[in-house]
């Protein structure tokens, strides 16, 4: 067990010494030193924690040294094998300090004569490393120093063959000069070095473990992932060597079990962590413990507990004047209130109105907490959108946030911003831009963003693709997600919901009711889904009911749903969509007038909030009702006017419905005209039917395809085109067979 020193660090020290002896030619200095530095400062990759001799070899084997014909690795080997006894190791540590500049004469000349010792300044990275290493060595008790020495022998042993090449005298006993003339069988060797038993004591130091854990915590907190498997193996290995394990392990365990959805485990570990750190950090971190606890509770659905913990957090943070914690808690509470308004006590609800956001923004700005400020702007934008208010205002907020992200280099807020922007575009019916945003995020910001954002973007883009009718591609895309990301439970649930939704849609269009039923059951079984997913699931359920003709059940369900949405003050977009479906249902049940009024009011709200896809949907419903009421030309002109924009939405289902609506309108018009006028209308209707059919076939909605085909057959029959009619009939039969 050692605090800091390991055999790998000795090798690094030897490299530093070689550098200080000016044995590196100019071209080797940068690569070798950057290799050294990479292992001294906090590392950015998983591989840099345990420094094997192999890694050093590959880094130095091809670097020429100042000695002709020798690589730096050769010199390093020489240096390492010259440490040929415990005493030599001691001397090595004493000597290395002579390369430090004395503080009194710190006038290091910038220009170095060739071959002159290059002194290390005491405060440089290398100087600090050397000083720390020497100090740690002095701190070592004798037997600890000896175990370091023994592990160093084991560490160096694999290079014996290479060392022999240069130095013919080397043998199996040349690791210690004191063993000259002895063999492995001698008792002395057995006592001092043990018989073949490996000492792994000093391969890992507490320092290494600490750095590893810090790295883990950072990446877990920033990216929201779990501990990767190979890292877990490494950690377990480290635990098995009796290194003093820092309390941080428990925190890593906590995050890990939290992400994996192990509620009792995460609780246990969080408490354990804070118990172990209590004695050295005192109560200064109490509020953070509470904060973690609150978030944890909320994540597992214990909202009441969570609120209580958060209130306590806020009180403690206030007491301790910890502004960062306080602001974070307030912002969290704000979001929590938005997400679960029914679970918030009134005291909090009343405070969490708009003013609180203003307050947060002001506080964040005051405290220079740019991340929080950027998030507050986004929240503001979101609030505007949810309330269906001014679009330019929403853009302004997003722009503010974006400005902050770019100027203050806030990488991990990028995801939320782009996602919000993407949803803004899709609400405005510009689906291509929305998709673009997701793709840009995925290809450019993926590395530095929380895993949750990445998966959200992926799901969003897949969803957009499925709307365009490319469900198979979308599913494939979802399958390609990095499995490592899905090890966090929440992320996995989100992803799985989307996969389920896409499949459910597919099954519904195909008319595979049994499969759809099953999928729907599975989807509704999962307790925690995002609100947008929940709405999609509800809509699918209604759709399924309607498709099976169970209108009364559908109507009850929709009434309940709209009531729930109204209670939660949900997103206006969601409410409009529900309204439109209700209008549709009403019109299908024959209560056209009521349906018309609902549809018109939905269209008004949608227009006011610039929710164009919803608006078009409402228009289609209105047009359908108009057709029912025999107002064909009005319906046609209304639909004809919006068609270009509808196509821009790239929603295959909406397109198909609109086309079939147009066809119906033309058919109705044909009934009012005679002669050439009628023929023209019929041809137009046929054209619209074909286009609608094409859209339906994209999403493989066989039932609707069949409806259109039968319509087509009848029109052709009416027009007297026998062969075309037979074609249509054949199509129809084929479709019927396939379904």
């Amino acid at each position: 067990m050692s605090r800091y020193l390991t055999s790998g660090k000795i090798a690094l020290l030897a490299l530093v010494e070689l550098y200080a002896e000016s044995r590196f030619p100019n071209q080797s200095v940068v690569p070798v030193l950057s290799f050294v530095i990479r292992h001294l400062v906090s590392p950015k990759e998983n591989a840099a924690f345990i420094l094997t001799l192999e890694r050093i070899k590959s880094a130095t084997l091809h670097q020429p040294s100042a000695v002709v014909g020798r690589t730096i690795f050769d010199l390093l080997l020489k240096k390492l094998w010259e440490i040929n006894s415990f005493d030599a190791l001691h001397t090595f540590f004493a000597n290395i300090q002579t390369y430090l500049i004395e503080p009194e004469r710190a006038d290091k000349s910038p220009v170095r004569v060739h071959g002159e010792k290059s002194m290390l300044s005491r405060t440089s990275v290398l100087g600090c490393f050397v000083r720390r290493a020497a100090l740690e060595y002095v701190r070592l008790q004798f037997h600890d120093a000896v175990s370091l020495w023994r592990s160093f022998i084991a560490y160096r042993e694999p290079t014996l063959a290479m060392w022999k090449k240069r130095n013919l005298g080397a043998g199996p006993m040349s690791f210690d000069v004191n063993l000259k003339g002895l063999g492995f069988g001698d008792g002395v060797v057995g006592v001092v070095y043990g018989r073949g038993k490996e000492s792994r004591d000093c391969t890992i130091s507490t320092d290494d473990v600490e750095r590893l854990l810090e790295f883990q915590v950072e990446s877990m907190q920033r990216m929201g992932t779990r501990v990767p498997d190979d890292m877990q193996v490494q950690l377990r290995q480290m635990l098995s060597t009796n290194v003093t394990i820092p309390a941080l392990t428990h925190y890593v365990e906590f995050l890990n079990s939290w992400r994996s959805g192990d509620y009792p485990g995460s609780f246990d570990n969080l408490h354990r962590y804070f118990d172990y750190t209590m004695h050295n950090r005192d109560r200064t971190f109490y509020q953070y413990a509470l904060l973690n606890l609150a978030i944890l509770q909320a994540d597992f659905g214990c909202y009441r507990e969570s609120i209580l913990a958060m209130q306590e957090t806020i009180n403690t943070a206030r007491e301790n004047k910890d502004m960062a914690c306080l602001n974070f808690s307030l912002s969290w509470l704000y979001h929590f209130h938005k997400a679960h308004p029914q679970d918030c006590p009134d005291v909090i609800s009343s405070r969490m109105e708009r003013e609180s956001l203003q307050f947060l923004k002001a506080k964040a700005k005051e405290g220079g907490m740019h991340h929080l400020q950027s998030m507050a702007h986004l929240s503001e934008a979101k609030q505007i959108l949810v309330g269906g208010e001014s679009i330019p205002a929403a853009f302004e907020s997003i722009l503010r946030s974006s400005h902050l992200n770019v100027t203050k280099n806030i990488h991990n807020a990028m995801g939320s911003q782009i996602l919000l922007q993407s949803s803004l575009w899709s609400r405005m019916g510009i689906s291509y831009l929305s998709w673009m945003n997701c793709e840009v995020f995925l290809s450019k910001y993926r590395v530095n963003s929380p895993i949750e954002d990445v998966v959200k973007a992926l799901c969003r883009s897949a969803y957009i693709m499925s709307l365009r009718g490319k469900t198979d591609e979308a599913l494939e895309r979802l399958d390609q997600v990095d499995q490592e990301c899905l090890r966090a439970l929440k992320v996995y649930q989100y992803w799985a919901t989307y996969v389920g939704l896409l499949k459910l849609r597919q099954a519904m269009y195909k008319g595979d009711t049994a499969a759809a039923e099953l999928l729907l059951q599975q989807l509704s079984a999962s307790p925690y889904v995002e609100p947008d997913c929940a709405l999609e699931i509800a809509i699918c359920r209604l759709d399924l009911l309607a498709r099976r003709g169970n209108y009364s059940a559908a109507l009850t369900a929709i009434t309940q749903l709209s009531e729930e949405l109204a209670r939660d003050r949900a997103d206006i977009y969601h409410r409009i969509r529900v309204m439109i479906i209700k209008a549709d249902l009403l019109s299908k049940c024959g209560r056209t007038v009521k349906g018309l009024s609902v549809a018109i009011s939905a269209a008004t709200i949608a227009w006011r909030s610039r929710l164009l896809p919803a608006l078009f949907q409402a228009f289609r419903t209105i047009a359908n009702i108009l057709i029912h009421m025999g107002e064909f030309s009005a319906a046609y002109s209304m639909m004809d006017n919006i068609m270009p924009q509808v196509l821009e939405c790239e929603d295959a289902y909406l397109n198909a419905q609109c086309f079939s609506c147009l066809a119906d309108a033309q058919m109705g018009l044909a009934g009012t005209r005679k002669g050439a006028g009628r023929n023209e209308c019929l041809h137009r209707a046929l054209e619209f039917i074909d286009r609608g059919f094409a859209e339906y076939s994209r999403i493989r909605d066989t039932k609707s395809q069949m409806t259109l085909m039968s319509q087509k057959a009848r029109i052709q029959d009416f027009a007297g085109e026998k062969s075309l009619r037979d074609d249509a009939v054949k199509w129809y039969k084929q479709l019927k067979k396939s379904s």
């Binding site: 040929n84 006894s85 415990f86 005493d87 030599a88 001691h90 001397t91 004493a94 002095v138 004798f142 037997h143 000896v146 020495w149 210690d176 000069v177 004191n178 002895l182 001698d186 008792g187 002395v188 057995g190 006592v191 001092v192």
Partner: protein, 560 residues
Amino acid sequence: MATEVPDPHQLHAALQTAVLKCSERCLYQAAKWAAEALTSMPPLVPLNDTPLPQTYLHPTSSHEKEAILQAGELPTYLLSKSYFDVHEYDRSSAVLANCKSSKSRFLHLYAQYIAGEKRRDEESEMILGPLDTAATQNREVQSILSTLEAIFTEKGDNINEDDSWLLYLYGIVLLKQKNEDEARASFIKSVNLYPYNWSAWLELGSTLGNLGDLNNILQSLPNNIMTNIFVLYSNQELYQTSDPVHAQLADLQTIFPTSAFLKTQRALLYYHAREFDEAEAIFDSIVKADPHRLDCLDHYSNILYVMERRPKLGFIAQLASATDKFRPETCCVVGNYYSLKSEHEKAVMYFRRALTLDRGFLSAWTLMGHEYVEMKNTHAAIEAYRRAVDVNRKDYRAWYGLGLSYEVLEMHYYALFYFQRAASLRPYDPQMWQAMGSCFDRMNRPSEAIKAYKRALISPTNTAPDTAVLLQIGLMFEKLNNQKEAARWMEMCLKEEDENSGLTQATSKARMWLARWEFVNQNWAKAAEYANELCQDGQEIEEAKALVRDLRSRMEVGKM
């Protein structure tokens, strides 16, 4: 002293019995020593008709009455011994409170004594801490003493082999009360009754302050091989390195050819005679033969320290700490290693640890004193040395160290006393006499200084006199205003330079002195000769050159 070679079979049986008896009485070190001696004998050719020897069984007393008593008390005794083995000393002692056999009485009192020692250790303060006064006493001693006295008065002259253990214990408690003479008498009685208890011999050895003491008791020792070993051991402890001692050792080694103990004694003899290479070779072979043996490794480390064999000392430290890092010997070796690497704080830490493990560990006290001297903490050094001397009055290094420390403090009269003690222990060590000489010199007593220095010239090993001493004698004569005599010694010094030692600082100084002296005597030519030689020597050139110039001008004046 015994001279005849004992019958190996008898000796074998005796040693076996000794091992069993000692371990029965929880005298572990003595048992270990006897067992080592036993196994270091050449293997016996078994006699044909001997039955299974009695010693394999429970060794019973040879006296009937005692044997009956012992047999009756055996269960209680076994209980008590098992308590002792798990370090429950008070309990062990209490169990045997009413027993009557000598064996049970011994263990009863011995456990009481050990319990007292344990409590004393627990009560002691941190080593060399502010409250550590070494005055903490074993509180059981008085009661043990009175019990033992009662037993002995009850027995009168009717004591036998079984009582030898009680006598041994009596000696120990007497020694604790600094009653050395009676203790010695008690030990002598004990070893006469039963000679195979090595602990008794060791304690007897510790009462001997000098060679005279040893010679005084020689007559009263039993005629036994153990006496030979003891005499050899005591000679070694008293730094007698003469040929007869070596011869005696060689005799013993024919009986115990593989004994590591005897080999160690040989190595220590070489060490005392400053023949380090031989000593190192012997220790090397001991370490190789039994790498787990830690006994006397501290002496080995001292040898390596003096020889400045850093890697090897490091290796030995590694070896020792691999075997047991909490043995005082190990701590001393490690401390010595750090001292050699000039890490004195760490060295002190390890010596301190050695002393925490065993307050009576002599070398650690002395070495700690040395470290404090290195760290310029003279007062702590003096205290450490003082403790060393209290533990063992035969450690000349501690006496010498005390003297040096007082010299640093410029308390020469004090220093002189300690140098004298050191010199009395090492009468043929020039270093002691030299130190004494310089002390006299400082105290302005040149005639005594001359005597001391002259004594320093007598050395059994090194025949060539030290030039520095010669120079000092010369300077002392100068102080006595006996210039001629001084010049004679200076010339001797130069002669020595030609013959043996070569150029040293001392000879240069002597030459300078001579040059000046000739100058004063107006022997220009002679003076010039010395001065020119000095110019070639490379030391004190400036002064020599000035002298040469002066001489030239005078000689020129003389010519004119």
